[in-house]
Structures are given as C-alpha cells and as structure tokens.
Symmetry: C2
Subunit: 328 residues, 2 copies
C-alpha cells in the first residue's frame, strides 16, 4: 500500500500539502498541485480513508461492544447495526467484553486511540463514571447503565407482565421466575414486571425467584433444583430464551411433560426458540429494529453532537408456541 | 478529539513534523521538538493509531467477511478471530456479505480504502480474479475459493465418510444426503465423502441427494418432500447442523420418530445441536480453533508478506447424541 508520505516525498512537498490537494482545502499553488497529482498518478496512490480521518479526526468507524457474540441474542443485534453502518459508509467493529469491566475499559481506550466515531454498548458493568471521559457519542443498547446516554431498549417490565398474566390466564397455580445476572438493568425490569402480576397472590413467595444468569447450563441446573424442591410449580417465566432452552432440558430430565405438567415462557424471540421441541412461547423483542435504531441514533449524534439525548423504548409481544397450554 | 493538525497549527509546524516527533523518526531540532511537545501537552492530544497508520500504511485492523453472522456457525468463528485480534492489538471488523458478489466486492474496495491490514474471507462466490488486485494478505476460511491463498478448513470429505459409515454401522438401509449451496467448496467435499461410502451400494441412487442450501427452512421443506417420495429412507446425512434442526422439524411433522424410524447426522458441532430434542448427532469441526488459526496465520503474513502460503486442514470427529440409534 502506497502511503501519503511516499507521495509527499516523490513530489518534494509536505504531507500536509498532499492532504490539502486531496481534500481540496486550503491554498496550494497550481505548480505544486500539478507535482502532487503527478506523484499520485505515478505511484498509483489511492487517497484513503485513513488519510481523511487523520485530518478530520473521524475514522468512519462505529464499534459495538457486546458481552459475547456466541450468545444467540447478539448476532441479530450485530447484524442490524452492521447493516446500518454499511448503508451509511461506516466500518463496523465488533468487541466481545465477557461482562468484564477490565476488557470493557481496555476496548474503550483502544477504540479512542483508533478515533472511532461512536460506540454502541451493551453492558451491565459500566457506569457513568467510566463513560464520562469518552468524547465520542455513545448509545446504550438493551441495558441502561448510564442515564446520561441515549438508550435503546424494549419495554421489559410490560413484557414480563404479559408473560406472567398469560401464565395466570392458562390456569397456572404457582408461577416461578428465572432471572438474569443481578447487575443487568433488564433483569431488574423483568423481575418487577413479574412481581407486578404475582406479588399479591396467596401462593407467592420469593423462593420462587432464582437466578439463571441468562445462561443455558446455569438455568438448567437452577431449574432442576427448584422443581425438585417445589413440585407445586406449574408455570415458569424464564428471563430469556437461552434459559428457556435450558428449562426444557431440565424438565425433560425430570421426566415431566411440557406443557402438560408445566408451562414455560421465555423472553427475546430469538430463532432458537423455534428449533426446540416443544417450540418456546416467548415475549418477543423487535431485536433487529432495536439494533438498527441504535445505529441510526448514533449516526445522528455523530453528525450533530448537540442534539438532545433520548430513550427509545420498543413495545414487545407475546408469541404463543408449544411450551404453554392453550387457553380454555 | 484533538487532531494532529491542531497540534501542528498550535506549534506552528507541519503535520509531518509532529509525526516525526510522535514516531521518534527523522531529524527534528530540539527547539521544534519542544514546541511540538508543549502543543501536545496544552491540547491534551493523544497520539492515536490513525496518525500512526497513516505514516506506516497500516491500520492495525483485520476484517472478517462472512455470509451472515445470524447463521449460528459464524458467531463462534467470529468470536475466535476477534479474540486473537484483541490479543495482538488488532481491531476486528465484521462484514456480512449475504453470498452476494456485489456486496463482497464493495466491502473489498471499502476495506482497502480504510487500509485494513488483512482479510479473512468465508465465501462461495469470490474467485482468484477478484482477489488478485487486493494487496494485503487474505486467508480463506471454511471454504476454498482461491487456491493461491492460504486456507484454513476442516477435513470435510473425511467427516462425511465418518457420518455415512456410522449410519451403515447402525444398520440404516437407505441413506440420503442433504447438501449445501452448489458453489460452496465444502458442499462438494461433503458430498464426495458421502459418495465414497455409498455409491457402490445396491440401493444407491442420485435421487437420494437433494439440496437444502445450508438453510433450516429450505432443508425442512426439501426433506419432507424427499421422505414422502421415498419412505424407504431410514438414514439422513445432513450437510450442516442448522439443516439438521430443520430435518428434526420435518420428521416431527411427518409424525415419524427419531431415531426409531430414521437416524440423522449433521455437520459442524454448533451448540444448537445440543438444544434440539432429540439432541443431534454430528460431525464436529473445531470451529474455535479454525478461526483462531486463521487469524494467527493472517497476522504472520501481515508481519512477513513473503512467508509461503499454506493450507491448514483440521481433523473432525463424530459426536453421538440422541438422533441416531445406538450400535447393536
């Protein structure tokens, strides 16, 4: 790859002069311009985005930080962000943070060094303290970790209410809830929605709320233990679909039948829920729309850093599949 | 973000001079150096990778082109490539090409403009004609599309033989094969491995080979049609696990039992195969190792463009789960 420096050297001018010719900005004498253009031609130099980004302080790069692209919720989010990046000419950078604050901070530092233009972050561990030093726009996605940032999410509390209400409607007598990681904002919102519906029920006890950490294996183990201790449970609202798949495996191992003995509702609406047997009833978020809205909002803020921050909350919907009994 | 240009302006020197100070290369008088350093200090300028990449022609960026990150084979590959990028200080760029040659060429062009240092490409549509103009190292991954490039793959033909042999060992009398897209090199290799084992069988007919395009829904539809026309089929070697999930759904809708009436083996070894009921017997590729080896090989070539190209072929293994009958 020919560099701008080689072009400058061959033309006998400074890098800044080559840049002025390339960007058509500032005064360059006709004679110098001709020398630079000849040098560009001779070396087959392609004026590249790196050169442009140096002089504009912009890289036309957007980064998405997610806990782990291998969790099947995130590929759909990544896809939608990348589609918008691509259509606006931004390069899409993906970072896996593993819920580690050290990794998150290392990425934030490295991405600033790369002059990334903006960040979309899914995090349960960052706070406003960590992001206040970042001088490019940031959108928090899926989870709210800093109320000073623009935020794109779904209505988790309402979704959880839909799930718990539906389990009541199909005559579940005791409804348990499997939660996500403690520090994730959507864990708390989904738990609150569940509590809104069940906390005044005669049967209710906090023993029916256990954590599965949004993880299939952890949820499977927690649910087996819970159902052995509490055989009265006949409805499960599981905080995401990955844990829903774990719930199905747990119940299969206990030789119980879904939905005959127990009905299950997940959350997210990822395609995994259509491949399980039985298929998983779920509260579906518009995942693709959430990712693309976050990317659009970020590009608006990159173009105009002064536009007011906003929170966009998408509605959710219950999708009935085979893991819940039919209504009478 | 403070730019190098602002630093140069404040110090009253050229951008090239600031660069020489930052990179500790070339002569700068002590007085000028002091002015530049004062300007860097006053403006709180952080010498960034963009400035460095401009002068070195390197961006410390690696891009991975995949058909679609939402196909569950690719997140694991993306994760492993990103892990290696991160550990070597490279930024990881992800591009979804949708098997579209137009999108692939547009990305190749855009990434060259960004001075990307190297490319890892999963493609069934590109050829050597398209990549010969690219002047950064390229690794082809999973599929071979240009024999002049280094290539990382698994032993697809041997894997297909393992699958077909296993179906014979468990007494399947008629074994069908569902293939991937016609132009993918691994479709052909897997088909050849299947043929190696069954082509001389008395029952064999090419009617038992149908395409599912590595797509769950297409495979499901194709398999329903095939089994209705050929009820004698009692073994299915399905070219990837996503189509294996489609096969399970097709057979469920036909009210047949897996593995009692028909045994199924997939390919890939993605985690999806553990969430289906029954779980899916599969030929597992070491996906994470393939991605990380490709990234390491690419970084070697970035550091030394003259090292010889090589092909790395990983062994595969059969993982027996519930979708195949037990051996007698």
């Amino acid at each position: 790859m020919v560099t701008i420096r080689e072009v400058a050297k061959r033309a006998g001018v400074s890098v800044a002069t080559v840049s002025r010719v390339l960007n058509k900005k500032g005064y360059v004498s006709p004679k110098t311009r001709e020398k630079v253009e000849q040098s560009i031609h001779d070396l087959k130099y392609k004026p590249n985005d790196v050169a442009r980004s140096l002089f504009k302080g912009k890289s036309k790069m957007i980064a998405l930080l997610v806990p782990d692209i291998m969790n099947p919720f995130f590929p759909e989010l990544a896809r939608s962000v990348e589609d918008i990046c691509n259509s606006y000419g931004y390069t899409f950078v993906l970072c896996n943070t593993d819920h580690s604050i050290e990794k998150e901070l290392a990425y934030l530092n490295a991405l600033q060094q790369k002059s990334v233009d903006g960040l979309i972050i899914v995090s349960s561990t960052l706070t406003g303290e960590h992001t206040k030093e970042i001088n490019v726009p940031i959108i928090s996605l899926d989870r709210t970790f800093d109320t000073n940032l623009s935020n794109v999410k779904s209505n988790n509390r309402q979704g959880a209410r839909l799930a718990a209400e539906h389990l009541k409607v199909i005559d579940c007598k005791v409804i348990a809830h499997i939660t996500g990681p403690e520090n994730a904002s959507n864990t708390e919102e989904r738990k609150q929605g569940y509590l809104d519906v069940v906390k005044d029920e005669e049967w209710f006890s906090t023993d029916y709320i256990v954590s599965g950490d949004y993880n299939m294996q952890k949820a499977k183990d927690a649910i087996k233990k819970l159902l052995l201790e509490h055989p009265e449970i006949d409805g499960l609202f599981v905080g995401n679909d990955v844990m829903g798949a774990g719930a199905l495996k747990a119940i299969e191992e206990l030789e119980m039948q879904v939905p005959h003995d127990i009905s299950i509702i997940g959350f997210d609406g990822i395609s995994l829920g259509e491949t399980t047997t039985p298929t998983l009833t779920t509260v579906a978020q518009p995942i693709y729309k959430m990712g693309s809205r976050a990317a659009e909002l970020l590009i608006e803020q990159i173009n105009d850093p002064d536009i007011p921050k906003k929170t966009v909350e998408f509605p959710v919907e219950l999708i009935e599949r085979q893991s819940t009994r039919k209504r009478r």
